[in-house]
């Protein structure tokens, strides 16, 4: 009798969940297509881009390149062209000193009165800048703006005595110049926006990096010039705390009726601060903080030219594909990356989020994934064979590393021709792409245009995975990537009691390499609060057999190391599968995302080392297994 009462209560509470999940349904679109773009690209308006020899690739160049037109490379002056044009692009220059280096060099700067002592310092700095550029030593001058590492490790990096944000104010108030640059970025984007064909999106970078802890965010807005011309991009020179950025976004959204999304990136060099268990100030994360963060930051950039932030072997020792394109350099005066922190990588962060949710009721790290380039050449190049540099100058084999460079500092050989932001949107326009970001119906790739779909549900119809209506079935019977899977195995109000099912389809990019396999990455927190993860190989090419511990033999490698060519004789063009979690535990919250691996292809450094007739690239692997990460689906009991 007691048992019956309990199950009746259980059913009652389950039907409440079912209602809740149904209520969320209508917001999901039924018909989407995938669009590829870059939300993170710098032009000659960014101070560091300019100091590294990008004098000429302006926003117009960036858009013309993205649309597939031939353009002049800002350093080597060659005519260059993207292989496959992008569907959308954000020109996101650094808000700090926006347009200032360019204006100083071109003598169009508007100086403000800064007092005689600062004026003399400024005069000296301008001389030094011009001198550096005359002698092609802009990179060395750039060093003036690098942060110093913290005196107190693990403290509030903004309050640290070594925090030298003041160096940015070297030239005094230059906001007049920045306003001009911003208005040009905005006007140029408006000119290039062609809804349905190519979408330009307005944005900038808030470049907070106190004592070398990278807290950078890209801010984007789906709105146009009428709203964007009512503000100047908010930079870290105004505050280095993300809370203050969110506050400004909130105020500016209200004042100008604008909408914004803030996208963190390069958590891999954040010294553990990007996804820490506390705020940057070291305070406990509260439900309020978590809600605010998730309001502004639905997605995170997980892969780009300066490395990949999925996971590190230290946190995923069982994952043989961890440590992909690991970037070993902090952005600071002292070279080398000496420490790896849990808050640096997104897979551990998703787990931290689940654990914090258990404590405070809200998950502060419930974000989706995108990739983007962060190229400073004005050219969004994520194609390994058609990579034109992180900066303008490291675009040619002979200038990939600085001749008199610091042997331990980063150079062009470290850089990965990555990443791509893929969105499942109802159309190629600002509103639809913004809506997809808000739904987290996005995924990241390290460059290739593989098409990846993922739906989670409790009971998909038979043969859904091979059906022509794959997406329609997915939307009808489940939630897409970025969504929430609620309730436990309900079918028409009845308890099914099964595990969650995942419909996954992955197709290689039309001109890209074949695919090796599809994996599901699961992370969860158990009753005692302990965090776990598991990687499942769910479908793969060839007749390989899973070992007892769930591993697959490597696929092989067709790359000819003497010519940097590969063939699609291994791997497979397409995978489609329905998979259900064999270890499902209904009482534990969990996340699931798909990882799709390509067959090995040549890395950008291989082409350059062959051109230089070197035996090996000075740094970096010769081949690379490019990949895609879908946004997770979350299961909450």
């Amino acid at each position: 009798m007691k048992a019956i009462a309990i199950s009746a209560g259980l059913l009652l509470s389950l039907s409440c969940w079912a209602n809740a999940s149904q209520a969320e349904k209508p917001s999901a679109p039924q018909q989407t297509d995938v669009y590829f773009g870059d939300t993170h690209l710098h032009t000659s308006y960014s101070f560091d881009a300019f100091l590294n020899n990008n004098f000429s690739a302006d926003p117009d160049t960036a858009f013309r390149w993205a649309k597939g037109q031939p353009v002049i490379h800002p350093y080597n002056r060659a005519r260059v062209q993207i292989d496959t044009p992008l569907d959308f692009l954000v020109v996101s220059d650094h808000a700090e000193m926006l347009g200032v280096m360019k204006a100083i060099r071109n003598e169009t700067i508007e100086w403000q009165d800064v007092g005689w002592f600062t004026s003399i310092k400024r005069w000296w700095a301008v001389m030094a800048l011009n001198n550096a550029l005359d002698k092609d030593l802009g990179r060395a001058f750039f060093g003036k703006f690098l942060p110093k590492s913290a005196a107190v490790v693990g403290g509030d990096p903004v309050a640290d005595v070594n925090n030298n944000i003041g160096s940015v104010a070297l030239f005094g108030d230059t906001s007049g110049t920045s306003q001009g640059a911003w208005q040009d970025i905005v006007a140029t984007a408006e000119l290039h926006n062609e809804p349905g064909v190519f979408t330009s999106i307005l944005g900038w970078e808030w470049s907070s990096i106190p004592t070398g802890a990278n807290l950078h965010r890209i801010v984007i807005t789906p709105d146009g010039a009428d709203k964007a011309n009512q503000y100047i991009p908010y930079g870290s020179d105004q505050s280095q705390y993300p809370e203050d950025l969110w506050q400004w976004l909130d105020e500016t959204a209200q004042r100008t009726d604008s909408r914004f999304i803030s996208i963190p990136h390069n958590s891999n060099i954040s010294k553990g601060y990007m996804f820490a268990e506390t705020t940057v100030k070291g305070e406990a994360i509260t439900a309020d903080y978590a809600r605010t963060r998730m309001l502004w930051e639905p997605v995170t950039e997980v892969t780009q030219i300066k490395g990949d932030s999925e996971t590190h072997a230290q946190f995923s020792p069982q994952d043989e594909f961890a440590d992909f394109e690991t970037y070993e350099h902090f952005i600071q005066t002292t070279a080398g990356k000496t420490a790896v922190s849990k808050g640096d990588y997104v897979r551990p962060a998703l787990k931290t989020g689940l654990a914090l949710e258990q404590k405070i009721g809200v998950n502060p790290y419930k974000f989706g994934f995108i990739g983007s380039t962060d190229a400073h050449s004005g050219l969004s190049t994520a194609e390994e064979g058609n990579f034109w540099g992180k900066m303008a100058k490291d675009s040619t084999p002979e200038t990939k590393a600085p001749v008199l460079g610091n042997p331990t500092g980063a150079d062009g050989w470290d850089m990965s021709a990555s990443g791509m932001a893929a969105v499942w949107a109802t159309g190629n326009n600002r509103e639809a792409i913004y809506a997809a970001f808000k739904r987290k119906e996005t995924y990241a790739t390290s460059g290739p245009r593989m098409r990846v779909q993922l739906f989670a549900g409790w009971d998909f119809p038979a043969n859904a995975e091979t059906s022509d209506n794959f997406a329609a079935i997915g939307y009808q019977h489940g939630v897409p990537m970025g969504g929430d899977l609620k309730g436990v195995g309900l079918k028409g109000g009845d308890l099914v009691g099964g595990a969650p099912q995942f419909l996954v389809r992955a197709v290689k990019g039309p001109v890209d390499a074949n695919l090796d396999r599809v994996q599901i990455v699961k992370g969860w927190v158990d009753a005692s609060g302990e965090q776990h993860e598991q990687v499942y190989n769910i479908i793969w090419s060839g007749d390989r057999v899973l070992s007892a511990d769930g591993k697959l033999p490597a696929l092989g490698n067709t790359v000819d190391l003497t010519s940097a060519r590969y063939t699609n004789t291994i791997g497979q063009a397409e995978f489609a599968i329905k998979w259900s979690d064999p270890d499902f535990e209904p009482s534990q919250s969990a996340f699931y995302y798909a990882r799709v691996l390509q067959i090995p292809t040549p890395r950008n450094g291989l082409y350059d080392s062959l051109a230089l007739q070197l035996d090996n690239p000075p740094r970096g692997a010769k081949t690379i297994q490019e990949r895609a990460y879908t946004s997770p689906v979350w299961y909450t009991p």
Binding site: A103, Q230, D468
Partner: protein, 306 residues
């Protein structure tokens, strides 16, 4: 004394005296106006509004007006004081000619002049249709449209069977499709799922090539349109039976089809031409003395709208 008497009789002197009296009298009568010019600063909402927006670096007059009206009396007082002090210092600086030989002001003025040169565009003749057609005739190649196609296809994969076995299946399927005269919209009932799309509507040749491979692309564009299913055509992935609805070769469009794009491009060219011409005209007023002649570039290089 004699000299003065003699002078008084001079008509020129008499005229001068009359002129001085008239001028002085006018000054006396209109004294207030002169004071207004030089030493009067009027501060109304209009000035304060502009001042506030310049300071806040945001330009939204309605909101600024609201903010101005909401100011407490103390805040408003501070704003008035600031404005008055700025204006006084500005006028005194001008009176002392401090704007001369100042690099910042010089640069700013050059920038403004350059901007003004851009502004001359507003006074140019608006582009006529004849202008646009002439522009188009000169730049036709830039508007070339890629070849486009519309078709549906039935796919037989060679992934799990040999290419030859797949071909046999495809041949059989072709006979069936044609015997039953299967229309476009019912084609998805036949064959296997293809990696990319079932139907391609107005898609460019390059995209077809990337999805199916170059030989397929060439064969497809060689087919003629018809009710019948054609093929099988091989791709990188298997065999395809094709129902072709539309095949447009690459072409240079008629002016009417692209007129809005032509207008935007022609206007941009006109703008830069106007500016270059304006600067050239200014240059013509000057004799530039240097050891080498100034080239035409001098007009374009003045563009400093960074």
């Amino acid at each position: 004394m004699r000299f003065i008497n003699k002078l008084a009789k001079e008509p020129l002197f008499q005229f001068l005296i009359i002129a001085l009296v008239l001028l002085g009298g006018e000054r006396l009568i209109n004294a207030e106006d002169y004071a207004y010019d030089q030493y009067r600063i009027e501060i109304t909402d209009k000035q304060l509004l502009q001042f506030m927006q310049l300071r806040a670096k945001t330009f939204k007059p309605d909101q600024a007006m609201e903010a101005l009206q909401r100011l407490s009396s103390e805040d408003r007082q501070r704003l008035v004081d600031d404005y008055a002090r700025n204006e006084v210092l500005f006028r005194e600086a001008m009176a002392l000619n401090l704007d001369k030989n100042d690099q910042i002001i010089r640069r700013r003025l050059i920038q403004k002049m350059d901007y003004l040169a851009q502004g001359f565009y507003d006074e140019t003749q608006p582009l006529t249709e004849d202008d646009l057609r002439a522009y188009y005739a000169e730049h036709r190649q830039a508007y070339k449209k890629s070849a486009e196609t519309t078709f549906t296809h039935v796919f037989v994969s060679s992934q799990n069977r040999s290419v030859d076995a797949a071909k046999i299946t495809a041949d059989k399927l072709l006979a069936e499709l044609n015997a039953e005269q299967v229309p476009f919209e019912k084609a998805s009932r036949y064959g296997e799922r293809f990696l990319y799309n079932r139907n391609y509507v107005n898609r460019e040749d390059d995209e077809i090539g990337s999805h199916f491979g170059k030989p397929f692309q060439e064969q497809l564009f060689a087919y003629s349109i018809g009710e019948a299913w054609q093929g099988p055509v091989p791709s990188n992935y298997g065999w395809h039976l094709v129902l072709l609805v539309k095949n447009n070769a690459a072409y240079i469009p008629e002016f009417e089809e692209v007129s809005s794009g032509v207008f935007a491009d022609a206007q941009r060219l006109q703008q830069s031409d106007t500016k270059r011409l304006a600067i050239k005209k200014l240059l013509a007023k000057y004799q530039i003395v240097t050891d080498r002649p100034v080239t035409d570039q001098v007009a374009t290089d003045l563009v400093v709208t960074e």
